[in-house]
């Protein structure tokens, strides 16, 4: 895919609309590619905790995630594009989540749904609770809430679609799967005697520095 030159649209939007009125659809490869994949995101059928129930509710009659093209929940990670981390990730579960992420083919995306998946949430002080799934896998969209309402999940999905539509398919800003220099696999942590080893993926996650109060002059 590296050979594809950056696509440029030499005509204006008004001219395109004029052509469309005559039944001629003019688009770029990038736009077509992004339009196609953003409208058919297949999530992994993977529930962790409370948020999974709201994820199921989002796929049921009242909220109907099918309106956004994502009703095909696949049980196998090999067929899924989107990992919705729906709930508390415990340290005992974290290696399995990373393994599922590695088993998903590119292009793939990750939504951290709910406070627990983002930071550990109300269970942050638990000894067996991973304080945010972004310590091990890259997260695209964070949805706050405990649990987020199904509408919030739909909003997160729409945001993800926006993100996909904004991606370029070549050049230095190309997504992970179109570049040869980026490794897509995340190392899987191992069970240690007191904690996971390593406790975080240092390439992905660096704890923010603590605030500094400048002493008054």
């Amino acid at each position: 895919m590296d050979q594809i030159a950056p696509t440029t649209v030499p005509i204006t939007d008004a001219e395109r609309d004029e052509l469309r009125r005559h039944g001629i659809l003019l688009t770029g490869l990038e736009e077509l590619y992004n339009w196609g994949r953003s409208r058919s995101v297949w999530p992994l059928n993977f529930g962790l905790a409370c948020c999974a129930i709201e994820m199921i509710a989002a796929s049921m009659a009242k909220f109907d995630i099918a309106r956004f093209g994502s009703e095909v929940f696949r049980p196998s990670p090999r067929q899924a594009d989107l990992l919705i981390v729906s709930g508390t990730v415990t340290k005992k579960m974290a290696p399995q989540v990373v393994r599922l992420w590695n088993q998903m083919p590119e292009p793939k995306f990750c939504i951290a749904m709910g406070a627990c998946a983002i930071s550990g949430g109300p269970f942050k002080q638990g000894y067996n609770v991973l304080k945010g799934i972004d310590r091990f896998i890259p997260v695209d969209i964070y949805i706050p809430g405990c649990p987020p309402r199904p509408e919030a999940l739909l909003h997160g999905l729409v945001q993800l679609q926006e993100k996909m539509r904004g991606q370029t398919i070549s050049g230095p800003d190309a997504p992970r799967h179109l570049r040869a220099d980026l490794d897509c696999d995340c190392p899987i942590p191992e069970f240690g005697e007191h904690d996971l080893e390593p406790p975080q993926n240092d390439i992905l996650f660096q704890p923010p520095a603590s605030p500094v109060r400048t002493p008054k002059a």
Partner: protein, 224 residues
Amino acid sequence: METPEQIRDRLLARFPGAQVTVVVNGSPSAQHSLLVDAAHGREMAGFLRDDPVLKLDQCSNVTGVDWPEKEVVETRKTTVPDPAGGTPKIIEEKSKRIEPGCLEVVYHLFSVALRHGPVVLRMRTGNRTDAVTLPSLTPVWRSCEFQEREVFDLFGVKFDGHPDLRRILMWDAFKDHPMRKDYVEPDDYEWEPTPHGDVLAKAKKHFPAPAAPAAAPTPPTATA
């Protein structure tokens, strides 16, 4: 249902040499419990299950309690008569005593057949380090099977006679017993802008505020 004192008397009559004491519960719930010695624990549990008056056929809840050793300060007052004939002096003597710690396992027994309960049964280990073996009651009530594994996992009580004593909630390589009061959890808290008070206290230990103004925080490496 019989009172705990009546059950104690019947147990002592049935098992001579056993030790049974009634632990008084000071709360309004008035659920007093029976502390039994580990050596006779299983026989007494079997008796409670099969006894026609009690018929405690359901062991509803099994749990551990950690009692770490604590320092008890005792004040003893002695009256010393004044040699001059005045009012006697009261001298307070303070003595410190270390009360040994133990691990305790509590069983809540009910009768489904006779619809009564709970009878609360307790057993205590000798200490919290090496004498932590208690008899398993899984041969008496099946419901103890997973719950005793949980007590083993989280408190470190070893159950003698348990068919499958492994860790149940934590992974097998895990070494600690996290429900003990002196458990030290791994410190993996990061600084966050609006923390919960306890989280902030823990995060400060890990990320001490630098003395000089530091550079702006480094953004995470972009991979997505």
